[in-house]
């Protein structure tokens, strides 16, 4: 007998129904001329400034430029949502979380949410389980609460539903896409993809005492980030040294707004204290456990100071640094933190521009790009697709005068450790700071410095005109290659290989990473 379908009695606070949101969007559609403007901008960006274009063409046999040309022909026949979906799809198939189309208002600054989170662990037999790990109070009803395990998602086995979701995700590695697919089950930033097609999800779950239940939870839309009353992206528009998955940062901040303890929900999201946490592990021989949720901070120096202060109070026996789920952020902050954790000098990651004409124009217009200009110009004769590579800054200068942590260290990564977090992991490994323990085989594999379309437009105003309604793009502009023994190896699509590997257990997911920390501690002892 099929269980009775229940539903939450209350709506998620501070949210709008999906139907109401879509009706509002449909009332003022994006004019056709604006869609063409977006496509023209996308072509310039992808063809001229996207540094990974040769890599993506080779690795995924894809031709985004041709797809954009074809889309341009089909524009009049598409609804607005179809248009956004198609354009977002061209970028999604680059499998590069840095390089995204950002939808205009009213999608900008909004996130579609169900109001609970799902995580995954494997039991002793290796079978995956999908427990609800966090839930808003408004969603709790009957037996539906944190700890129940999902079995079917809209009548589809959860494993398969995640696989289908993963196929629609951007990540370049199967692990990364799967992690994103899992996350997108319950949370979808509308800045980078149109809203879900379904208005609700029907969940079949098993309670901790083994009973099978069903409930129907509606999708809701709520503001993701606002500043001075304006819709915002969670990542600076003007950042010149960013390496971040803006979509995942939006997800992270939405999670924080929904599920963090009340005081943390409204604090400044880009301050070091909000992206760092520290405690000592339990056990006979306690170690320091430094959690770095994000590198999306305003100040590299202040971030490094904060890390140094934490490290100074950490046990000398060892420090576990955990950057799982870290979407990246300020590359300089990541490299400066690495410097604080190292007793020796740190060889920084190097960055190269594409050797296109637009890149040369950028290097000519912006004095800060002066070192890159000669090799771009010479590419006509050298045939190099990338310019000479330079560090973005000197980590020693940024971390100058700060104390170093001399003890042994281990780094924990997962498939969502991305970009600046990839760079941190690469630096950790390449400079011999310690072992890299993974809950997935590799990090997220984002290797670039990402710029917004608008920031590029400051330097290339003739090439990159204004976009309608706050629409935008982010593009991988400078390609990161590793240092030390891996000098020249790209991070994009390859990431940092974790060794050893630890599959998360139920005690990890629902019990404060107990087994994971034990595995990390074992590497320190």
């Amino acid at each position: 007998m099929s269980p009775r379908v229940t539903a939450p009695a209350r709506a998620l606070p501070e949210s709008t129904g999906l139907d109401a949101f879509l009706a509002q969007a449909a009332a003022d559609p994006l004019p056709l001329a604006d869609r063409y403007r977006l496509l023209a901008a996308a072509r310039v960006l992808v063809e001229e400034l996207y540094v990974h274009l040769p890599l993506k063409r080779a690795r995924y046999a894809t031709d985004p430029v041709q797809r954009l040309r074809l889309l341009e022909r089909r524009v009049p026949a598409l609804s607005e949502l179809q248009f956004h979906g198609e354009l977002a799809g061209v970028f999604r198939d680059l499998r590069d979380l840095h390089t995204v189309y950002q939808l205009p208002a009213p999608y900008r600054g909004q996130v579609a949410v169900l109001g609970f989170l799902v995580e995954r662990y494997h039991d002793e037999d290796g079978a995956p389980h999908y427990p609800v790990s966090r839930i808003d109070d408004a969603l709790k009803h009957g037996d539906f609460d944190a700890g129940v395990e999902l079995e079917l998602w809209n009548g589809v086995p959860v494993e398969r539903a995640i696989e289908r979701g993963a196929a629609a995700q951007v990540g370049c590695s199967p692990d990364a896409r799967l992690a994103r697919g899992l996350e997108s089950l319950t949370l979808r930033p509308l800045r980078t993809a149109p809203p879900p097609d379904e208005r609700w999800v029907q969940l079949t779950y098993r309670t901790p005492d083994g009973r099978l239940r069903e409930t129907r939870v509606p999708w809701r839309v709520r503001p993701a980030d606002r500043h001075r009353g304006r819709d915002q992206d969670p990542v600076p528009t003007l950042g010149t040294h960013l390496g971040i998955d803006a979509g995942n940062e939006a997800t992270r901040q939405a999670k924080r707004a929904l599920f963090a303890p009340a005081p943390a929900r409204r604090s400044a999201a880009r301050a070091p204290r909000d992206v760092l946490a520290f405690r000592r592990t339990r056990g006979r021989r306690p170690y320091g456990y430094l959690r770095v949720y994000s590198f999306n901070v305003t100040s590299a120096r202040r971030f490094a100071e904060q890390v140094a202060a934490i490290a100074a109070g950490a046990p000398a026996d060892g420090l576990i640094v955990d950057i799982r789920g870290n979407p990246g952020g300020n590359i300089l902050a990541a490299e400066a933190a690495l410097r604080v954790l190292s007793t020796g000098p740190v060889d920084p990651v190097r960055f190269a521009l594409p050797t296109s004409r637009a890149a040369l124009a950028l290097a000519r217009a912006n004095p800060a790009f002066r070192p890159w200009a000669p090799s771009i110009r010479d590419a006509v004769e050298s045939g190099e697709p990338y310019s000479q590579a330079f560090p973005l800054t000197d980590p020693d200068a940024v971390a100058d005068g700060l104390p170093r942590y001399p003890g042994p260290k281990v780094l924990i990564v997962d498939a969502l450790s991305y970009s600046a977090a990839d760079i941190f992991a690469a630096g950790f490994a390449d400079n011999g700071l310690g072992p890299v323990l993974g809950t997935a085989g590799t990090t997220g594999a984002g290797g670039a410095n990402v710029w917004t379309y608008e920031l590029l437009g400051v330097w290339l105003p003739d090439l990159l005109g204004p976009l309608p309604r706050g629409a935008g793009f982010r593009v991988a502009l400078r390609r990161a290659t590793r240092a030390g023994g891996n000098a020249g190896v790209p991070l994009e699509d390859f990431g940092v290989t974790a060794d050893p590997l630890h599959r998360l257990t139920r005690r990890d997911v629902l019990g404060h990473n107990r087994d994971l920390l034990a595995a990390a501690s074992a590497l320190l002892s």
């Binding site: 003007l238 800054t393 940024v398 608008e454």
Partner: protein
């Protein structure tokens, strides 16, 4: 706001008429409705307009001065007394590491100010121009959002006519392929390109048997752009043959057109101890305009540069320019150079011209009107009008011209004027509209604690995840000059240890400026102290 000025009108029109007395009618649209003898009937629409009657004082009414070469972001910095002078060419001083080095004396202070006090910086440099009677300047910094109409016209971003920006500029050289394949096509007779070229010592020209030198190669690369509308800044190293090549190419396309050289003699002498061969340039038919360049190696404004040109003309050029021709270098000549791109003419007073005006104390009754401009100091600037609006001047004239919301300003000891910022500097740090005291406070705050000011600015930039065209979006300015050793802390919110952001450079050619000039020992600049008694 319509406005009428009556006095001795020095028109700089095609006949260089001097109307004594004359009347200038500035319309609501920011253009001149009429420039005519004072006795003629006024054009329609001026019955209720305020009238500034100067006939009893003998004051002169001239076009606002045009400064065709600057780098505005750096214009609050004092003279840079670099130890490596004379440099061979423009790429050499960028790498100056000996104190006072380029990075911490020029690059970093300008960067900090451009981020921490951009509105105040723009307002200050505009006022500095007004104090020198200048209504058009060149050298806009890059900015995170469009800069609105300010106190003075900024040539690079001024949208004349009809909201279109037709002036291209490049302080850094473009590649030969870009010049050939992209830039040259844009010089279609409707645009102007203001381009730095051949900035260095002529003496650096090598033996013909050896490879072509750096700065001469820049000029060779520019060959496809030797077309009407080209304005070359410096050209210090160019020879008579190169000037001939240039003007010959222009003439071949349009015999009525002339290329324009922007001459910045003070800056040339300061950095290279040589300056452009303007006699050779004019002999080939090229037009000359003056530019004050940036304050680290330039005069405060073109009124000062005019005195440098006057001294060189007298002492070294054998009086090649007469006084009227010298004055044309800051009025009619740059105005004509811009006329290729701009609809309303600047630098000449005629019906339909831009209503940019300067009222000047004649100093002595009957003094030659052109000599009066050459000899004038900041103390002789009585009123400056931009786009038909009184912006700077004495209290009586500002009141007579109908100026409102003015602030008191003292550009030099004992020199009292009023300035109408009228929100031209944008919002202040507290969100209020900047007036002159607020401009000075904002710049002083950066001077007092540059590290904190820079960090606050970086925080504000990093906190903004919205559109840049939003009125609330933070403004940041980016300099157009090569950066010195800035890479070590690039992109961080930190600044080099001990960095000093100087107090804003004086608005006038003051004792500190003249003392620095004296220390330089440059013979051709010695006479400047006599110009500013």
């Amino acid at each position: 706001m319509a406005l009428v000025l009556r006095g001795t009108v020095v028109t700089f029109d095609a006949e260089h008429r001097v109307l004594d007395p004359g009347a200038v009618y500035a319309g609501d649209d920011g253009r001149l409705a009429a420039v005519q003898p004072a006795g003629q009937a006024p054009p329609p629409g001026f019955a209720a307009a305020p009238v500034v009657d100067l006939t009893a004082t003998g004051a002169l009414v001239l076009p606002g001065l045009v400064d065709l070469h600057g780098h505005l972001q750096y214009h609050t910095l004092p003279l840079w007394e670099a130890v490596g002078v004379p440099y061979l060419h423009h790429d050499r001083w960028v790498d100056e590491r000996d104190a006072p080095d380029y990075a911490t004396t020029v690059t970093w202070p300008a960067k900090v100010l451009g981020h921490a006090a951009p509105g105040a910086l723009l307002a200050y440099i505009a006022v500095k121009a007004l104090v020198g009677g200048t209504t058009s300047v060149q050298g806009a910094p890059r900015s995170t959002r469009p800069l609105g109409d300010g106190l003075v016209r900024i040539v690079d971003i001024e949208k004349l006519p009809a909201g279109r920006d037709m002036v291209m500029t490049a302080a850094l050289q473009q590649d030969a392929e870009v010049l050939r394949n992209e830039t040259a096509d844009k010089l279609d007779g409707s645009r102007v390109l203001i381009y730095h070229v051949a900035e260095g010592r002529r003496a650096a020209e090598p033996d013909p048997a050896k490879p072509v030198s750096h700065v001469h190669r820049e000029f060779a690369d520019l060959a496809p752009c030797l077309k009407p509308g080209l304005v070359c800044v410096h050209g210090t190293a160019l020879t008579a043959a190169e000037f001939a090549t240039w003007q010959g190419a222009v003439t071949a396309l349009d015999p009525a057109e002339r290329g324009t050289v922007v001459w910045s003699p003070f800056s040339n002498l300061w950095l290279y101890r040589e300056t452009t061969d303007v006699v050779a340039a004019t002999a080939q038919g090229l037009r000359i305009a003056l530019g004050s360049d940036w304050s680290p190696s330039g005069t405060k404004h073109v009124l000062g540069e005019l005195k440098v040109a006057d001294g060189l003309n007298r002492d070294e050029l054998g009086g090649h320019f007469d006084d009227r021709a010298l004055c044309d270098l800051v009025t009619a000549d740059p105005g004509d150079a811009l006329a290729t791109a701009w609809g309303p003419q600047v630098g000449r007073l005629a019906a339909g011209s831009a209503a940019d005006l300067l009222v000047l104390d004649r100093q002595q009754p009957g003094k030659d009107v052109y000599r009066a401009l050459i000899d004038a100091t900041e103390r002789h600037i009585l009123l400056v009008v931009t786009r038909g609006r009184p912006r700077y001047g004495t209290q009586p004239l500002m009141t007579a011209a109908g100026a409102t919301a003015t602030s008191a300003i003292q550009p030099a000891p004992g020199l009292r004027r009023r300035v109408a910022l009228d929100g031209a500097g944008g919002a202040g740090p507290d969100g209020g509209v900047l007036d002159w005291p607020a401009v000075k406070r904002a710049l002083d705050k950066v001077h007092q604690d540059p590290r904190a000011a820079f960090r606050d600015a970086q925080d504000a930039l990093a906190a903004w995840g919205g559109s840049l065209d939003d009125p609330d979006a933070p403004l940041a300015l980016f300099g157009d000059m090569p950066e010195g050793e800035a890479a070590a802390l690039a992109g961080t919110d930190d600044i080099p240890p001990g960095l000093v952001v100087p107090e804003p450079d004086a608005l006038t050619h003051d004792a500190a400026f003249l003392a620095a000039v004296d220390r330089s020992g440059i013979p051709a600049l010695r006479h400047l102290k006599d110009c500013y008694p």
